[in-house]
């Protein structure tokens, strides 16, 4: 019985590795970010990269984000996600251009 968790853990890690290998080279053009939906994952937009590195680690983007509230949301996330000043600026320009 004690072997079950170990087996499940290994299966989980193995599954993750398989998924990653399957991902390699695949077209990953659709993402959760507002502006990124029409862009490729390889986009060099620094704002989009900042979104992926800071926001997407925990949650998906809202379907709609009014520019009126972007500043407040970023103030909220600056604390919650310990955003750097540079990333906060990039995200503001990205989410409310």
């Amino acid at each position: 019985m004690k072997a079950i968790p170990t087996v499940c853990l290994l299966a989980s890690l193995f599954g993750g590795a398989v998924v990653m290998m399957a991902q390699a080279g695949a077209d990953t053009k659709n993402s959760a970010q507002p502006k990124a939906r029409a862009k490729a994952h390889t986009s060099s937009d620094p704002g989009e990269q900042a979104f992926r590195h800071n926001c997407s680690r925990c949650h998906s983007a809202p379907e709609q984000l009014s520019p009126h509230i972007t500043g407040t949301i970023l103030q909220h996330m600056r604390v919650r996600a310990n955003l750097s000043a540079a990333d906060e600026k990039l995200l503001l320009n990205y989410l409310a251009p």
Binding site: C8, S12, H68, R78
Partner: protein, 349 residues
């Protein structure tokens, strides 16, 4: 009219001055680029845990109230009903609970330091701060070791300093340190404790590693420490998250893997909205530790989830878990959640 003491006069003057300052801030907030926002999640959760079934309607509103560009007041509450089947005849009992998870003022001191005053989520590990929101969590149930480091209520009352200590395109270093006072009644229950968390994020590797420490300053005055490792490839729907916590009487870990099938037709395709989730977790009890939040016996649990993101911010989460402990059992969860985001008035950028 009785004469007022100097101290009373000072107190009343301070209250009036604070009220005037707050009023002025609220007035200026109406023309500020940042406007107050009400957001959060609502949902209907259902669980059958080892034969016991209950349903919970939940609303968890979040208020974000900016006072200028350097101060933000924010709060999150959890309003929850509980409808539970009990008795041999299958009768349903109902009850209601509410809790205030945070009510804090965030003061931006400089680009590296934010001072947080009030009630805040205890920053031990990262699950409590990042993944407890109703609309974020991939599995309805919190990990077995969630109570280690976050007791007594998951929230702390006091002061916290946090921020980004160093940031570049190659590495980000964040820190959090706090002190909490003891409060045992009402909505502000908290333990007297002090602690810190440091995390390092490597953007190019999509890897985050962090450590947490807490010294409990009441009762046994024991230490709890923990670590977390997250690998979240930015160009993929894969998420691997893990935490380990070690308390005086118990320790344990969880590893959670989820994968959004967005490569099959995109995020909004029928398949792309699917997200399988798997979590493995174990907790070990070394000695009785009343109130540390970990299970009373050694427990091993495997959770299998399948989530579906619906249009208009709705999400359907389903999961099955097998728990191995003194008494083995199955846990079936199903929930429908909704995420909302409402500006209080028009304006802003």
């Amino acid at each position: 009219m009785p004469s007022l003491t100097k101290r009373t006069l000072l107190q009343r003057s301070a209250i009036v001055a604070a009220a005037l300052w707050l009023g002025g801030q609220l007035m200026s907030a109406q023309t500020s680029p940042n406007i107050p926002v009400i957001s959060g999640g609502a949902g209907m959760l259902s669980s059958t845990n080892k034969g016991s079934t209950f349903v919970q309607p939940v609303v968890a509103p979040v208020l974000a109230l900016p006072l200028g560009n350097h101060v933000l007041v924010e709060a999150r509450a959890d309003l929850r009903g509980l409808v539970q089947m009990s008795g041999p005849n299958g009768t349903w009992d109902t009850s209601y609970t509410s809790s205030l998870e945070y009510l804090q003022a965030d003061v931006l001191v400089n680009r590296h330091v934010t001072a947080v005053l009030g009630r805040f989520q205890t920053p031990f590990g990262v699950y409590n701060e990042r993944l407890t929101a109703l609309w974020i969590r991939d599995l309805q149930d919190a990990p077995l070791i969630f109570g280690l480091g976050t007791r007594t209520s998951g929230s702390s009352d006091g002061v916290m300093l946090r921020g980004n200590a160093y940031g570049s395109s190659k590495v980000q270093v964040n820190y959090t340190t706090y002190f909490s006072a003891e409060r045992s009644t009402g909505q502000f229950q908290a333990g007297r404790s002090a602690g810190e968390r440091v995390e390092v994020y490597l953007p190019h590797a999509d890897l985050e590693i962090g450590s947490s420490y807490q010294h409990f300053l009441q009762g046994e005055r024991k230490d709890t420490w923990g670590t977390h490792v997250w690998w979240t490839p930015a160009a993929s729907g894969l998420r691997i998250r893990s935490e380990y916590a070690h308390g005086a009487h118990a320790q344990g870990y969880w590893v959670e893997t989820s994968y959004r099938l967005s490569r099959f037709g995109g995020m909004n395709s029928i398949a792309g909205r699917l997200q399988p989730v798997f979590r493995m977790q174990q907790s070990f009890r070394n000695s009785p530790g009343a109130g540390d939040g970990a299970p009373g016996n050694d427990t091993q649990e495997a959770d299998f989830g399948l989530n579906y993101t619906l249009p208009q911010e709705f999400r359907l989460n389903t999961s099955y878990a097998r728990s191995f402990s003194k008494k083995n059992g199955n846990i079936w969860d199903i929930s429908l959640t909704y995420r909302f985001l409402i500006p209080t008035w028009r304006g802003g950028k």
